[in-house]
Structures are given as C-alpha cells and as structure tokens.
C-alpha cells in the first residue's frame, strides 16, 4: 500500500499508545491553563473583585458560611434584605455554589493556606472552567474519540459563549453549573452505553449537586427523559437504558428533594412530570419485554397493546386530573415564558425587564461561538451518520438548546457545550480524513482499513467506520448521489490522493482555528471582562482611568450612616448595597419570590411625584434613596434609562395611578429636556437625577450625555428630600428623606419659608463655571 508521506515503521504499538496518552495529558493540562488564563483579564485589568449584581449576594452568603459554619448559614435569616420582610436565606437559595467555595476554603485552611475567601470566590469560575473542559473531553470521547475530545475541550475552554458567564469574579451559579451539566451528561451517556448502575448513580449524584447549584437543573431533568423516550420510540429500548434511567431517576429525584429550596417540586410541578412519565413508561415497556420473553407472540400482542394503552391512558388522565386538582403546579412563569414568548412581557414585567432575558440576535451567536456556529450542523449530520444512542442525545440536545438560546440570551450558555462537542466532532473527522496517510488504490479497501488499524493512535475513528452498519453506507451513498451529480462508482476505496490536497485542507483548518483563538481573546478582553462595579475609561494620554463611583458611594454609606439606615434603590442595586454598604435595602435582585408588589411599591415611589412618594417612603422607614445617574459621564446603564420598567411594574399594580403613556411626550417620544411630559418632570426619579445638575454647567446649557438632550436652565427642586451625597462623577446620588416638620407644616411650605429666610440673609450663590470632568 502507498502512503502520502513516509511513516516511521519501527514503532511498537505500546510506544504509540503511551506517547499518545502522555500527549493527551499534556494537552489537557495546557487546555486547562489556557481556560483559566483567558478568564483573568478582569483581575489583571482591574483587580480581584466580585462582578455585577447577583455575585455580590453569593459572595456575602459565602462569607457567612465561611465565617460561621454551615449550620449557621443554613439557618441564616437575613433581616436586611426585603426590609421589613427579611429573607430566610437557607431556604431560598441554591446552596451548591456557596457550599463549594466553603469546602475549598476550609480545605485550604486545614493545610494552613490562609487564602482570603474573596479570592476563592473570584477564582472559582475559572477553576471550574478547567474542570468543564475536562468533562467535555470525556463526553466527546464517548461521541467520537480522544482527538475530538481534545478539540472539544479546547473549544469550550476558550469559547466566549461560556467565558461570558465564567470570567474571574463573576461568582454566579453558572460558574459551576456548566461543569456539573456536562459531567452529569457524561455519566448518563456512560451509564447508557455500559448499562452500569454505578454510572447511573454517579449521574444521579452529580444531578443532585446540579440541583443544589443552579435553577437550570430543569434542563437535565427534561433532557434525559426526552432522550430515553426518543430511544424507545426508535425501538432502541434495552436493559442498559432501563438500568441507567431507573438508577438515575430514582436516586436523583430523591436526593434532589433534599435541597430545601426544591423540596417537593419534583413530584408537584409540571417541569418534573416528564421525567416521571418516562419513568413509568419505561416500567411498562420493560414489563412488555419481560412478557415477550415468556409468552407466545399472539398473546403477547394482545397483552402488550392492552396493557400499554391502558397504562398510558391512566397515566395521562391521572396527570391531567392532578393538575386540575392543583396537586401538580402548572409551569412556572420563567419556564412558561420559554414557550409562550409573549407571556413574560405581558404578565411578569420583572422577568421581561432583565436584559439577559431578551431574545438573541444572530450577531451575538456569532460573537459567542464564531466558527463553531457553522461547524455545529456539520457535526450534527455526522452524528446522524453513525446513529448510536449517545449521538441521539447530542442531536436532541442541539435542537432544544438552539431553540432556547434563540429565546433568551442567557441560555446561550446551555447551547455552548453541545456546539463545542458537535463542531469538535466535525472538525476532528475532517482532520482525521486528511491526516490519514494511506492513499486509496483500486479495490483493496480491506487492506486500507487494516493499515488504518496499525496507526490507531492517530485515527482510531477508522475502526468505527470499519464496523459501520451497511445502512449508513447506503444512506451515505444516496447523499453522494445527491451531492455530486455524478453517480460514484461502487468501488469504495476511500481516502485522499496526493500531499497538496492534504496540505491545503490542513492549512486552511489551522488558519481557521487560529482565527478562532484571536477572536476569542478579543471578545473576552473587550466584551466580557469588565466588572460593572468599576468602570474604566482612558485618559487623553491613553492610560487607563478607573471610575469608581459605585464603591465610593457605597463605602460612604457604610462609614457615615447609622448601621440600620434603610436604603431604597431600584432592585438592581439591592445586592450591591447589601454587600458593599452593608445596609438594609427595600428590594434586591432576588426577584424569584412574587414580591412583585414590593418592587412595584418602589417603582411607584420613584415614578410618582414627591407628595405622593413621601408617605410611601415614610411608611417603609426609608432613610436614604439612591439613584444611578449617568448623564454627566454618559453612563448609559442608569436609572433614567430603566425608568420605564419602574413605571410599567408600578402600573401593573396601580393601573389607575401610574400610566406609562403619561411619561412620554404627546408625540410619543421619551424625553427628559424641557419638552418632557409633566408626569416625567414631577417624578421623584427625574428630580433626584437632575437635582442641581444644570447648575454644574453654570451659564452654558447643561447636556445630558446619555440622552443627548440639553436640560432646562432651572433644574428641579426637592422639598421632601435632601441631597446627602453625590459621587465624584455624579453616577451615584444619595438623598436623605426628611423627617416630618417639627411645627407640623407640610415640608413644602416649611421649605419655602426657610428658602425665603435664607434669601434675605445671604445672597444666592450665583454664576458657576462648568467643572471639567
């Protein structure tokens, strides 16, 4: 036989395999290093700090866990959240994340490594991303082979779609969830292939961990049953399937019910009913199989039909009945909004208002997955080519996940692993084909295959090709005819002639891969590595300038206000205030409980006039009100831009007091300058944002750099609030709520009186110059 390029002949098979495994280990090590390193941009550019909003709560909870131990954490009642309700943290949180870092913390300290808990929290996500790479490797290995596995590991190690949720400092449930997801799936596949109860149990254990860690566990809860169901429909029921599924479901469900936050949901809510149903169906089918082995086919047919139909009917009706009797809760809003996409906006504006619940436009797909996004269908096709049970899993996963990712940006995260896997399959089979040195010659296919057998280490996939069922080849045959107009000769000597052909494809492939690396680095560095708590701008001389207003204001609150001062802000900032300023907050990011009315109250206070808002503030003993204002700096994520959501949410509860249209100009524009509607101008939010803003510009007219609108010369005045603190770039503004006037006057007139007195005493401060910022 001829080879395209000379091969060393004096290598024993053991040498080859050992070298291969050593190389694999080294490669995995390097991949992990790359995965961790590429997530450290935030730490290097800024500092080791917790990012964004939710992580601040996780961090706070973890500190409690680390300092006071697990039981204290378990029974922790946090009086500062949702003032005055408070929050039973132990029962309303997925403890997996905190428990993980707590364990790591205690482990390190047991070895006298006094690592700060903050650093553990910050670096948890990168660390787990390395594990994810490994899990993906194992998973893909089951799909194709080691080489594909390594590719997949490399992909998921650096793909932005995953980095976006796992940079150092984004200490959120997803940080560990994706590893658990992939490893659970790996265990499931392994269990399915080997039919071992051990792996089934492992899958259950990791499923439990996942349940404890992330609300997204429902994805596994439905993914695995769907897979099992499809296999049954394809007539692929086997004892392996039975063992794997039953061991997973039984143990997994029971253990998942141990998480207080989940409790009895696995038997009470619709999200989990699919798994139960498939479990039942499996029993029926297994019973049918058993019966078949004992009965003659005639009786069997009757028995089977009767029993299956009967049980099926009973099951369905039972389910429906239970749902109507209210024993089984229907789909919860968040899940339901995945199917009826208009649902959230109409009925749960709080969910709809979150930016990461918006649908995904194609650029973000490309941004997050780049070349994987179009390799992915090819991989799916290849999975169809040799349709083993695990391939069915990948196929289903790809369909479901791509739908979800389309509906919600944040679910891109669940799509990413399968994309990495299947595109790795596609890519590695391409490379396999073109690295394989054997040249086809005439009819000797068998020899070619055996020769493939020799250099197994390089291309083990050939073996599978060799024992590929005839069906797929014939099927393949008809794509051949479909694809290339000419009908290929029946002589299946497959392979590539010549070196140049190999070269061009390989070079092309390598080029694309390196482009991918550049892309990922750029996206990670520019899009996903800023901890939204600290903003960075560049000085004229190009050096980096840190804008630290949030921490400035929070720290001021922490140092110079009474310990029990209640701070009201829009719910986005609740966790940060609790974490950094250590003060009670009215509402925070924990919106899962239908504290809708509570949030709506804040929304109403913000969007209604001072006179209306003041009683609300006093009733909730609010001492300070905090607003985010970007107008001076051009920081677009400020409260005025979020204002409409406050209005909408308030309108949902008080439709006759707050109406969204009143906040637009008659022409339906959203303006803040002198053409703004009166409701807008009188709203507390508007007043607090622009209080004394115009004066900053002295004579020249004040410019809101976010809305790009010039503000009126005379700014709004406040009668019921005092400006207490404003951060350096005016991003955070804190106002103190006045106590009732001692003389019993309403504060407006009292204020007017005081103003009059002051005017007589001292001439009003006049003509300021603009301060360059």
């Amino acid at each position: 036989m001829s080879t395209a390029y000379p091969l060393p002949t004096n290598l024993s098979t053991t040498t080859v395999t050992n070298t291969a495994s050593l190389l694999r280990i080294v490669a995995l090590g390097l991949i992990s290093a790359a995965a961790i390193a590429s997530r450290l941009f935030a730490v290097i550019n800024f500092e080791s700090i917790i990012h964004e909003f939710d992580p601040w709560f996780n961090y706070r909870a973890t500190r409690v866990l680390a300092s006071q131990g697990f039981y204290e954490f378990w029974n922790w009642f946090d009086p500062t959240a949702w003032y005055p309700l408070g929050r039973v943290v132990g029962g309303t949180v997925y403890p997996g994340l905190m428990a993980t870092s707590g364990v790591i913390y205690n482990f390190l300290h047991a070895f006298h490594l006094p690592v700060d808990i903050r650093n553990i929290c910050v670096l948890l996500a990168p660390g787990f991303s390395a594990l994810t790479a490994w899990a993906t490797y194992m998973f893909t290995k089951e799909m194709k082979d080691e080489s594909a596995g390594l590719l997949a590991a490399a992909f998921i190690g650096i793909v932005p779609g995953y980095i976006s949720r796992s940079v150092a400092g984004s200490y959120d449930n997803e940080a560990i969830a994706i590893f658990l997801l992939m490893f659970t799936f790996y265990c499931w596949i392994k269990a399915l292939k080997t039919g071992s109860a051990l792996f089934g149990t492992l899958a259950a254990v990791f499923y439990f961990y996942m349940v404890a860690a992330w609300g997204g566990y429902a994805f596994i809860t439905n993914m695995i049953p769907v897979h099992a169901l499809t296999l049954m429909l394809m007539g692929r029921f086997s004892s392996r399937l039975y063992v794997a599924y039953c061991s997973w479901y039984a143990i997994g469900t029971l253990s998942s019910m141990q998480v207080p936050f989940v409790g009895f949901q696995p038997v009470r809510t619709s999200e989990h009913m699919g798994a139960l149903g498939v479990f039942g169906l499996l029993q029926i089918v297994a019973f049918a199989q058993l019966a078949r082995s004992h009965l003659s086919s005639k009786q069997f047919q009757n028995l089977l039909t009767v029993s299956v139909v009967a049980m099926g009917v009973v099951g369905t009706f039972g389910f429906i009945a239970l749902t109507y009797m209210g024993w089984i809760a229907p789909w919860t809003g968040r899940f339901y909004s995945l199917w009826d996409t208009g649902y959230a906006k109409k009925y749960i504006p709080i969910i709809a208002s979150v930016s990461e619940h918006q649908p995904t436009a194609w650029p973000s797909f490309f941004m997050d997955l780049q070349l994987l996004i179009f390799l992915f269908p090819a991989g799916v096709i290849l999975c169809f080519r040799e349709l083993r049970d695990e391939h069915v899993f990948v196929i289903i996963y790809s369909v479901v996940a791509s739908y979800f990712a389309g509906v919600m940006v944040r679910l891109m995260l669940t799509l990413t692993p399968v994309v990495c896997v299947s595109s790795a399959v596609a890519f590695s089979s391409l490379i396999d084909t073109y690295l394989d040195p054997t040249q086809p010659e005439g009819e000797e296919e068998s020899e070619a295959d055996s020769s493939n057998g020799t250099n197994t280490a390089a291309t083990p996939s050939k073996k599978e090709k060799a024992k590929k069922p005839a069906a797929s080849t014939s099927a393949l045959n008809d794509i051949v005819t479909a694809a290339t107009s000419q009908s290929s000769s029946k002589s299946k000597s497959k392979g590539i002639w010549g070196l140049d052909t190999r070269l061009i494809v390989i070079v092309n492939a390598i080029g694309m891969l390196s482009f991918f690396v550049f892309h990922c680095t750029w996206v990670t560095a520019n899009a996903y590595s800023s901890p939204s708590v600290v903003l960075a701008s560049t000085n004229p001389d190009g050096s980096q300038h840190i804008i630290d207003d949030f921490r400035e204001a929070y720290y001021w609150l922490r140092q110079n206000t009474p310990q029990d001062a209640v701070v009201m802000s829009w719910w986005d900032y609740g966790y940060q205030i609790a974490g950094m300023a250590d003060r009670p907050t009215l509402v925070d990011n924990n919106t899962w409980n239908n504290s809708k009315s509570h949030i709506a109250t804040v929304g109403k206070a913000m969007s209604s006039s001072e006179e209306v808002a003041y009683p609300i503030l006093r009733k909730h003993d609010v001492d300070y009100v905090l607003v985010i204002f970007g107008g001076l700096l051009g920081y677009s994520g400020d409260d005025i831009n979020k204002f409409l959501w406050m209005v909408r949410i308030a309108q949902g509860v008080w439709p006759d007091e707050i109406q969204e249209p009143n906040y637009f100009t008659p022409q339906g524009e959203y303006r803040v300058d002198d053409r703004a509607s009166s409701a807008m101008k009188n709203s507390l939010m508007y007043k607090m944002s622009y209080y004394r803003f115009a004066e900053l510009f002295g004579g020249n007219n004040a410019m809101d750099r976010v809305r790009q609108q010039t503000m009126p010369k005379v700014g709004p005045t406040l009668d019921y609030l005092d400006e207490a603190f404003t951060s350096e770039n005016w991003i955070v503004r804190i106002y103190q709520v006045r106590k009732e006037d001692l003389l019993g006057r309403d504060l407006k007139s009292a204020n007017a009186f005081a103003q009059g007195k002051k005017k007589k005493k001292s001439k009003p401060v006049s003509r300021r110059k603009a301060i360059p910022v």
């Binding site: 006094p114 400035e552 004394r692 004066e695 350096e728 110059k769 301060i771």
Partner: protein, 489 residues
C-alpha cells in the same frame, strides 16, 4: 487614678531608681516663660524655668503640672537649655488632695548657690483643642478653642512668669482677659500682638503649688482662633510587621481608622459645592481631600485598599533603598486619597501596606548569632494624633529567645503565635499596645531573635513530604485493580 497612672507611664522616660528629696527652699525661679504653639490635634507647650539655686549641691528640681494637663500630655521631655541629652524625670506623686502632680528632675551636675540653670520642659498635648462652633457648613471656615490655666505652678517662689500663646493664624476670634491679677502685675494682664497673645509678665509669685493658692488665684484662660488645616485623628492604627527570611522581606501593613475631628458637617454634603471650591482652589479648611505620608525608603509593592477592595486613587514616589543606619533622611512619599473627601465628623477606614527588603532594617550579629530587626512603631501622619495603636511583630517560624527594646514603655505587651502559609508550628508574635501617639513617638522598636537553620528547612521539607506522599499514593492507586471479574478482552 489608675487611668492616670497608665497615661503617665507613657511619657515617663526611663526612670532612674534614685530617690530625690525636693524641698521648697532649694531653688527659686527667677523667670518662667511658657510658650504654647496652638495647632489642630497637637499643641506644643515649651516651658523654660530659669532656676536659681538657694542652697549648695541642689541637684533635684521639681516641676508641677496640674491634673488636667497631665491627662492630655502625651509626651514630655526635660532638658538643660542648650543641651541635647534629656534629663531623667521621676514621677514625684501628688501632694495630699492636690489637683497637681510633681515631676522630680535629676539635674546632671549640682548647681552652686546663686547660679542659675535653665530647665526646658517640652510637652505635646493631644485632644487639647475642640472645634467651636461645633458644627460648620461646607463652605464655612473652621475655628478651634484651647483652654489652659493662667499661672504656671511651681513649688518655688517665682520672680516673674509669662505665658505666650501663639495662634497659627493672626485671626484670633477671642481670648479671655484674666481678672483681679493686680496683685501680680501693674500693666494690662494680657497683650495681643499679631498672632501672639502674651499673658503677663506677672511678678513675685509665692510658692504656688499649694491648694489654697490655686483655689485663690488660679484661673482658666481660653483662646478661640481660626485654624486653616483639617484636624486629623487616627482613631485606631493596627500595624502588623511580618518578617520573612525566605523572602528576605519585611512586610508592614497598617489598618487605619481615619476621623476628621474638625467641626461636624452642618446640613449635607453637596458635590457641586465641593467641585466648585476645588475648581477655584479654595477648598474648605476642614475638608480632608488627601493625605501624604512619608514611608521608608526602598519599599515596593505598596497596596492601599479598604473593605470593598482596591482604592485606585493613590500615587507613590518611591525612594531607592538606603543602607542601614546611614543618616540619610530619604523617604518615599505616598499620596493617597480616600474614596470620598472627608468632611467634618466623617470616618474612613483603609489598609495600607508595603514590602521592604529585610536587609534595610535587619542585621545579623555573628557574635551572639542573633538577628536584630528594627520596626517603626508608626508612620507619621503630620499633625495628627493616634488614639490607639497596636503593633504586632511576626517573627519567622521557629525563632527562639526573642528580646525587644522599646523607645518608650507600652501600655501592654503580649506574646502569642500566628499560623500562616504552610506553617507547621506557627510563628512567634509580640504585640505592643499604645495610646495617644504623636509625631515624637515615631521611633523604631528593636527585636532580636535566633533562628536555627533547622527551622529554615522545616517548611520545604514539610511540603516536599506532602507532595511525595501524594505521588506515591497515586502510583499505587494507579496500579491497583479493583474490577470484580476480569474481562477477557
């Protein structure tokens, strides 16, 4: 009373054991001049006694201070005018039911009859001034009040005494005019010229350190003056100095609670006002926008953070490291801005730390085989007082026979152990506590200890064994086969 004792032990210099016999006849003061340099949180008081000996071989002179002054004095020193060497002072105890205390000064050489010796008493008072009015709005100016007694007491007769009060700015809002002092002076009892207010001269004072005289004549005087600099107060400073021989590194870290002791902010803070003021370069006197600290030379890796993370607004001008005990007064300048400008009555806490090469501050004494390390008690924040200071010195693991020398006695000293990175036994720690420290107290503590070379090796050995054990375990675990029934593949 105990409280008073502790306060007192602070500023007694190393006291000789010798006992004096002070009699009211041994001296007479031909002149007493007291100069009070008013400041923010620190007030320098210098009193010069021109003492004329009345009897031969008079070598013990007694200085009397009223109680409240003792309470607020954080440092004192007695010298013969024109000499460097401070004299030994002994706390002579209070006369029965006296409101004042005696300090017995041991003169270096006995004074002949009728010859005069000039004794200079220099003290620094803390918490002696208070803002008046107590609350000031953002653009108001700040003025302080200082109270003291009119007469300098003395157990001897005094021919003439006067008190000069120097205000930092000529704008003295008000000062008390002492009443019925005609017995001692003929012209006006107080005169003001520029920023200086002079009480006296008062002539022919009898022995004044007696209760009846005090109750009869002594009276309080107060000065109300404008002060143009913020009144700084470091409520608490916790210093941790960690010595690492492996890293040849001395790490010093201060946890500081900063407090603006000026008049409390009236009303609210307006960023607009603040930016306007700083734009027109007329920032209010009682606002602390930034601090500039003098850190030792040759430091590196300076970090400045607080409870919510790194503070990016600081600049360091590091000076190159200088050889030990060379008298060059080089230092690195650290300019740090708090997250927010510190207005009257506001707090700010932060942590400041740095590394410095151990060689700069440590030396090895071959003869005794001991290392000697010097650790400064505090970093001087100019014009500020440190209410409570805790210095914790962490010696390398396995350090033995630890000794230390203090520049002045601590309130309390305790020893403990501290376990950190990969320690097996933990490191010896000495902790000193101080109160009311001022610029004068920024002196080094000397610690000497032995470290056997075995102690040096302990850590690497421990780590190596741990890893080795891991690998060995891995080696075996890899090769053990636990499958129940072998597959015949």
């Amino acid at each position: 009373m105990l409280q008073c004792w502790r306060a007192l032990t602070l500023f007694l210099l190393v006291s000789a054991a010798s006992v004096f016999a002070a009699s009211s006849l041994s001296f007479e003061n031909s002149a007493i001049v007291r100069t009070v340099d008013l400041g923010g949180s620190l007030v320098h008081v210098t009193t010069t006694f021109a003492a004329k000996a009345l009897e031969p071989k008079a070598s013990a002179y007694t200085i009397t201070l009223p109680e409240d002054e003792i309470q607020r004095t954080s440092w004192l020193e007695v010298k013969i005018k024109g000499q460097q060497q401070p004299l030994t002072v002994k706390y002579g105890g209070a006369p029965a039911d006296g409101k004042f205390y005696n300090l017995d000064v041991q003169l270096p050489n006995p004074v002949e009859v009728d010859s005069t010796v000039n004794i200079v008493l220099e003290t620094i008072q803390t918490h002696a001034t208070y803002p008046w009015p107590e609350r000031a709005a953002q653009q108001d100016e700040q003025s302080l009040k200082y109270n003291t007694t009119l007469f300098v007491l003395s157990p001897y007769k005094t021919n003439v005494q006067r008190t000069k009060v120097k205000s930092p700015s000529p704008e003295v809002r008000s000062y008390t005019t002492p009443k019925d002092v005609d017995a001692f002076t003929l012209e006006s009892p107080v005169t003001k010229s520029g920023a200086t207010i002079t009480y006296g001269p008062y002539n022919n004072l009898p022995v004044s350190a007696t209760n009846e005289w005090v109750t009869k004549n002594q009276q309080l005087i107060g000065i109300h003056y404008k002060y143009d600099y913020p009144v700084l107060e470091l409520t608490q400073v916790k210093r941790v100095a960690e010595i690492s021989h492996w890293g040849a590194n001395l790490n010093i870290q201060d946890d500081i609670v900063l407090y603006n002791a000026g008049p409390e902010l009236k009303g609210h803070f307006s960023r607009l006002e603040h930016q306007t003021q700083s734009f027109y370069k007329r920032a209010a006197a009682h606002v602390i926008p930034a601090l500039s600290l003098h850190l030792p030379a040759g430091i590196h890796d300076v970090y400045y953070y607080d409870l919510v993370g790194n503070v990016s607004t600081s600049r360091l001008r590091a000076a190159p490291s200088v050889p030990k005990n060379s008298r060059s007064n080089q230092y690195s300048v650290m300019e740090l801005r708090p997250r927010y400008p510190l207005l009257g009555g506001w707090n700010y806490t932060f942590t400041l730390g740095w590394d410095s090469p151990l060689a700069d501050s440590a030396s090895y004494d071959a003869s005794t085989g001991k290392y000697i390390v010097q650790v400064p008690i505090m970093t001087d924040v100019p014009g500020s007082v440190v209410n409570e200071c805790e210095v914790k010195i962490i010696l390398p693991e396995g350090a033995t026979d630890v000794e230390h020398v203090l520049p002045f006695p601590a309130v309390s000293t305790e020893e403990s152990t501290h376990i950190t990175y990969l320690d097996t036994l933990g490191r010896p720690v000495i902790t000193f506590k101080y109160k009311n420290l001022t610029t004068k107290h920024a002196k080094p503590i000397y610690v000497s200890y032995k470290v056997p070379s075995s102690a040096h090796l302990r850590k690497p050995v421990a780590v190596a064994t741990a890893l080795l054990g891991l690998f060995v375990f891995g080696m075996f675990a890899r090769r053990v086969d636990l499958t129940l029934h072998k597959k015949t593949a």
